[in-house]
Amino acid sequence: MEKIIEIKHLNKSFGNHEVLKDINFSVNKGEVVCIIGSSGSGKSTLLRCINLLEVPSGGEIIYKGENILDDNHDICLYRKNLGMVFQQFNLFNNHDVLGNCMVGQRKVLNRSKEEAENISMKYLKVVDMDKYINAKPKQLSGGQKQRVAIARSLSMEPDVILFDEPTSALDPEMVGEVLKVMNELAKTGLTMIIVTHEMEFAKDVADRIVFMDKGVIAEEGTPDKIFNNPSKERTREFLRRVI
């Protein structure tokens, strides 16, 4: 299996508070990894470190054989290969739905207007938002916004998409529509790293589950192992509480 991203000895601290301690893990091409754990365990920080929205305090992030934490590495070049879907959607307020999907393609990938439009439409159809291309973000519901955000990431055709609690800001009825889209994507062989609290969903789509606790990876393994036969007491305790 080809490793897309490999993380070695990653540390992150805010001031003297250590959020991530010596994280080691890697993601293979086509793999769906779900990161679970209680609030404050460092899941989101880990995800944000992967695309450098938080600058790690130490360690290495190897992408295609290069350590992207080297000083002279072009961060923008690296980031365009990584999609990110946020908890708060973060759609560009000054663009409509189509514009949200197009602006990155036009400016970062330098695609022609026509090409960018075709690709945007393709992925907006995937998330079933092609009817709303003229709508502004403020006119959409949470679930619709998140589906557009997913289409925006897909339009960049990245190697990996990072999902940072994509359903946590949605009400229960809208969670379903977003998870359905993500479930579809997981089956297409897209590499995904998902931070989630939806255990049922994680069990279904993940090839591997990473359980984080207090800034370290406490346990990792197949969904079957983590959910049915966890080896650590802490994992069992966490699962007892959330399921």
């Binding site: 086509g30 695309n51 929205l53 000083d71 923008c76 070049l77 980031r79 365009k80 290969n81 990584l82 999609g83 990110m84 946020f86 708060q88 959607f89 973060n90 759609l91 560009f92 307020n93 000054n94 409509d96 602006v103 990155g104 400016k107 970062v108 393709k122 159809k125 995937v126 998330v127 079933d128 092609d130 009817k131 709303y132 291309i133 003229n134 709508a135 502004k136 006119q139 925006r152 960049m156 969670v175 379903g176 998870l179 359905k180 889209v181 479930n183 579809e184 994507l185 997981a186 089956k187 297409t188 062989g189 939806e198 049922e200 969903f201 279904d204």
Partner: protein, 260 residues
């Protein structure tokens, strides 16, 4: 005072008053626009995150200090004093005989720029951090993030404050009469000096000022509504097919559909 004398002043001196109002508008429009551009540049540069590269970080720090000094000085002294210092100072120190209109526009521009820089800085920090993060996550650099995402939203947000500055400029250009710029106040003063009808003449001037400021605020309000766009969106119905995603993306893993 009488209504007739006001009418008389209007009909008798309207070319002078209009010329004065024209100069006032010219100075305040050009001054506000240039000040707006200065404010955007300074405000944007002041919000650049500190670069990782040491040398770049050092240069940025120096630039920021220079901008801080500029803002503090021009916000901290009255425009009437700035006008005197710049106009007579440049003549004394460098022997430059500045054109009065040019000097007026220069003073209003840099004065407005200092205020706008702070308005822009406030505007940028009020924009949701998520907007920056989403743009960065897509691979945009700072310049692309600013021009494509942040500035369009910022300009919309600071438009009311800009309108404020514009209105203030229309009124405050009157202080430029100290360097004999022939704007509306200067003209009014000359007329009143001729006919000794101070109240009536300045009453007419106040009408001129009010019409100008009121028109400007209405126009800016209209611009805001234009930028905001329509309230509703149209649904794009090209083809409606159920479960598009299944057809559009090939599946390589299992094929069951799960409902959540």
């Amino acid at each position: 005072m009488s209504f007739q004398s006001i009418i008389k002043i209007m009909s008798e001196y309207y070319p002078m008053l209009l010329r004065g109002a024209g100069i006032t508008l010219l100075i305040s429009i050009v001054g506000t626009v240039i000040g707006f551009v200065i404010g955007l540049l300074v405000g944007t540069i002041r919000t650049i995150p500190i670069p990782r590269n040491r040398i770049k970080a050092f240069i940025l720090k120096i630039v920021n200090v220079v901008f801080s000094i500029y803002i503090e000085i021009f916000r901290g002294t009255p425009m009437i004093v700035q006008a005197m210092v710049i106009y007579y100072g440049s003549a004394l120190a460098f022997g430059i005989d500045m054109d009065r209109i040019f000097a007026a526009i220069l003073i209003v521009s840099i004065n407005t720029g200092a205020y706008m820089a702070e308005i822009v800085r406030g505007g940028i920090s009020s924009i949701d951090k998520g907007q920056f993060e989403a743009a960065q996550a897509i691979g945009m650099n700072h310049f692309q993030t600013m021009t494509n995402i942040i500035l369009p939203q910022l300009i919309r947000n600071i438009l009311p404050a800009t309108g404020n500055e514009f209105v203030i400029n229309i009124k405050d250009t009157s202080v430029l009469n100290v360097i004999s710029v022939t704007e509306l106040f200067f003209q009014t003063k000359s007329i009143a000096g001729n006919n000794f009808k101070y109240f009536e003449t300045f009453f007419v001037a106040s009408i001129f000022y009010f019409v100008m400021t009121f028109t400007v605020t209405r126009i800016l309000r209209f611009c805001e509504m234009k930028i905001d766009g329509p309230e509703n969106y149209t649904i794009n119905i090209e083809d409606i097919s159920v479960n598009k995603s299944e057809k559009l993306l090939p599946r390589v893993k299992d094929t069951s559909v799960k409902q959540y």
